[in-house]
């Protein structure tokens, strides 16, 4: 397949692996921020091609994993109501709340539907004016423009039976939080290419300067990731700490300006809880005052609801890159995708789930 096979070429991958070996002189620890990259690394075995000095740790960039348990509980509460059509991206349905997940709400008779775009949910609202249609707006900056567009269109065409349960998170504050932890191991970042396709990468430049870390905007195919690692190691070995763009076929420095404008129109920056990490200031998006009518939490009267996460899981340490999935005593024993203890085991992009799927019995 064009634009895919080129980036999965075994010979090119081996060449990059050799080049990486040549330039690596000391041990380095790099974090790939995005869960999509984690998944690709483990699925294709990218880490097996790296020199032993290079350690990859898996960052908090899986929106499904970091959605806090209280938001899942809110989703379950709304989806259980009789007049509601609750719409979500597919992989949110299996994420456990305190006692159940959205799939079991569906099994119990709730109208829970998988959609591929928030605009599909908006269309459902138009088609079913007698029902309340709620879309679970989860994701990083990547999914924010489409979610913003759904609210924008609903507002312009006066669709009143549509609302968003917003759980948007932002990448740069999470990177800063990780760099601020006292025992952080991260010396360089692969930034998430799709996030940067929307936002550009100017907001990473102060982070690279302040914390003296190289940040390489990186794509999602095996060769993208190998090249991103190569660029990051080269900076580390040369003592540089800059923002570089490996994913130049999709990302421009300024990003997608119309998309950013739409995000600012509909959303504002708010503090947000991250599952496994805790609250990070200025790390999420909520609806602007002028779109408050589309806020499902207010509409269904559940904004005050709070829930604490189960304590036995070390996903916080995993999401911060302090521990690796296989270092957890519960991994694969008391914690599996069928019965996850926490965030990183629930989504296919979660680091623990990726290790469970592709690595379990080898180590």
């Amino acid at each position: 397949m064009r634009f895919i096979d080129e980036y999965r070429d075994a010979r090119a991958a081996q060449q990059y692996a050799r080049a990486l070996k040549r330039i690596t002189k000391q041990p380095w620890t790099i974090m790939e921020v995005c869960g999509g990259q984690t998944h690709a690394i483990v699925k294709f075995g990218v880490d097996e091609l790296l020199p032993s000095e290079v350690t990859l740790v898996h960052g908090p960039g899986c929106p499904v994993c970091v959605t806090p348990v209280e938001l899942i509980e809110k989703a379950i509460e709304i989806a259980s109501r009789p007049n509601v059509i609750f719409c979500s991206f597919g992989d949110m349905l299996r994420v456990p709340g305190l006692s159940k997940d959205l799939l079991s709400v569906k099994a119990a008779g709730g109208d829970v539907r998988i959609v591929y775009s928030p605009l599909d949910a908006l269309k459902l609202a138009v088609d079913h004016p007698e029902r309340e249609v709620v879309f679970f707006a989860v994701g990083f900056e990547t999914t924010a423009p489409a979610n913003a567009m759904a609210v924008f269109q609903a507002s312009r065409s006066s669709v009143r039976n549509f609302s968003l349960l917003v759980s948007h998170v932002l990448v740069p504050p999470a990177m800063e939080a990780i760099l601020s932890f006292p025992d952080t191991r991260v010396q360089g970042f692969l930034a998430a290419g799709h996030v940067c396709a929307i936002m550009g990468f100017t907001e990473y430049e102060p982070i690279a300067q302040k914390y003296r870390v190289p940040i390489v905007v990186t794509g999602f195919e095996p060769l993208d990731i190998l090249q991103g690692i190569y660029m990051c190691i080269r900076q580390l070995e040369e003592g540089r700490a800059e923002v570089e763009n490996q994913y130049s076929r999709s990302v421009r420095r300024e990003g997608n300006l119309p998309a950013q404008k739409l995000i600012r129109e509909v959303f504002r920056v708010v503090p947000r809880k991250w599952r496994g990490v805790g609250e990070i200031p200025q790390s999420g998006l909520g609806l602007q005052e002028r779109y408050a009518a589309y806020d499902a939490e207010a509409r269904f009267g559940i904004a005050h609801y709070t829930a604490e996460e189960p304590a036995e899981c070390m996903s916080g340490l995993i999401l911060q890159g302090i521990r690796k999935p296989l270092e957890c005593p519960a991994f694969g024993v008391r914690c599996t995708p069928e019965h996850p203890l926490g965030a990183t085991m629930v989504s296919s992009e979660g680091a623990c789930a990726a290790y469970f799927q592709y690595r379990r019995r080898k180590n």
Binding site: M1, I4, V42, G45, T142, L223, Q357, Y358
Partner: protein, 351 residues
């Protein structure tokens, strides 16, 4: 594809009388008889069904018998490349073929939902008749029930089948040996993506058709050529990965497969990339894997490729004896990873 004496295209139950299935069509009275006489008998026409007895009686060539059953629930009932009728015939035919058996006779049990359009039922019946004729089997006994509207999903079909085993050796996971070659009969993932596309209204540049097909012909060709197939398995809901893992666990052996050897249609790959699916786990209805001794692999491959359903057959891996129960795959960039079954259905990813 129809023979001259075969069923007519027009629904034989007058639409103006009964445009939809009624509860009475399953009640055992006049309407049930009308359904049997006007639809099932002409479509499946054979003396055994025509005898209108409680069951079919028949003789079979001597030898070991194979017997299997499966139930079919699919939404939508009609999809590119097939429908619930062809699926119900081919699925059971394929299960028999995987036992090394030539399929002879099938039963069909229908659970119809009240209100099902009669011409829709007719299309399904015709499709079953056509699939049966293509697979060389006869539908010799059956049953129809009708459930209240809202208690079914249009049509549910159960089929059971009987076949005669046509090879001298056992075909089962236990017969797989270290050193065997693993063959795959064609490209994977078409059925699952075809269904998904209709169900979710996804549009691709060209229509992806289900691979739904009877595998008895190609398997009988292999066995007739004396290929010593140790194990055969058709790929269904769990996809290629599901079949491999099941057999590896049952055989307590290690399967090593090669990602680049596994054919996947361009459109299916594209759809999987968009949805965040792995084609290894996408459903198939007309593909199978075979385990044969390495020395026979080339000959088996030639036999498979000589059949229209095996033109794209490949050797995708080998069997090793270390790590019992494990399936590993050499990825396209040359690293190795584990292949396991999924915890549930594949769900489309956020980004």
């Amino acid at each position: 594809m129809e023979s001259k004496s075969g069923p007519a295209f027009v629904c034989p139950i007058p639409i103006e009388q009964y445009p939809t299935v009624l509860l009475a069509h399953g009640g055992g009275g006049k309407l049930t008889n009308q359904l049997i006489e006007k639809m099932f008998l002409p479509a499946f026409g054979n003396p055994m069904l025509g005898a209108r007895h409680d069951g079919a009686t028949f003789s079979l060539p001597s030898g070991k018998l194979a017997f299997t059953t499966d139930s079919y629930v699919v939404r939508p009932l009609f999809f590119p490349g097939g429908d619930i009728g062809s699926l119900a015939v081919n699925g059971t035919v394929n299960d028999l073929a995987m036992c090394g058996a030539r399929p002879f006779y099938l039963s069909a049990g229908f659970i119809l939902e009240e209100g099902l359009p009669m011409d829709m039922l007719w299309r399904v019946i015709q499709s079953m008749a056509q699939a049966a004729s293509q697979a060389g089997v006869q539908l010799v006994t059956g049953d129809t029930k009708v459930v209240d509207r809202g208690k079914g999903d249009g049509i549910f079909i159960n089929t059971a089948g009987i076949g005669v085993v046509e090879c001298g050796h056992a075909i089962s996971p236990a017969a797989v040996r270290g050193g065997d070659s693993i063959l795959l009969s064609g490209d994977i993932g078409r059925h699952g993506i075809a269904i998904m596309a209709v169900r979710e209204g996804l549009e691709f540049e060209s229509t992806i058709e289900s691979d739904c097909a009877p595998l008895s012909g190609i398997v009988m060709d292999m066995l007739a050529a004396g290929i010593e197939a140790h194990c055969l398995r058709d790929l269904t809901r769990g996809g290629l990965a599901g079949a491999l893992v099941e057999i590896a666990e049952a055989a307590r052996l290690h399967f090593e497969i090669d990602e680049v050897a596994i054919p996947v249609m361009e459109e299916v790959r594209g759809a999987c990339e968009i949805l965040g699916f792995d084609p290894l786990y996408v459903a198939n209805e007309g593909r199978f894997i075979g385990f044969v001794p390495a020395r026979e692999a080339e000959r088996a491959l030639q036999r498979m490729r000589a059949h229209p359903l095996g033109e794209q057959a490949r050797i995708i891996g080998t069997v090793a004896e270390d790590n019992p129960g494990l399936v590993t795959m050499r990825s396209s960039i040359g690293a190795t990873r584990i292949v396991d079954t999924l915890s549930g259905e594949q769900l489309p990813r956020i980004c």
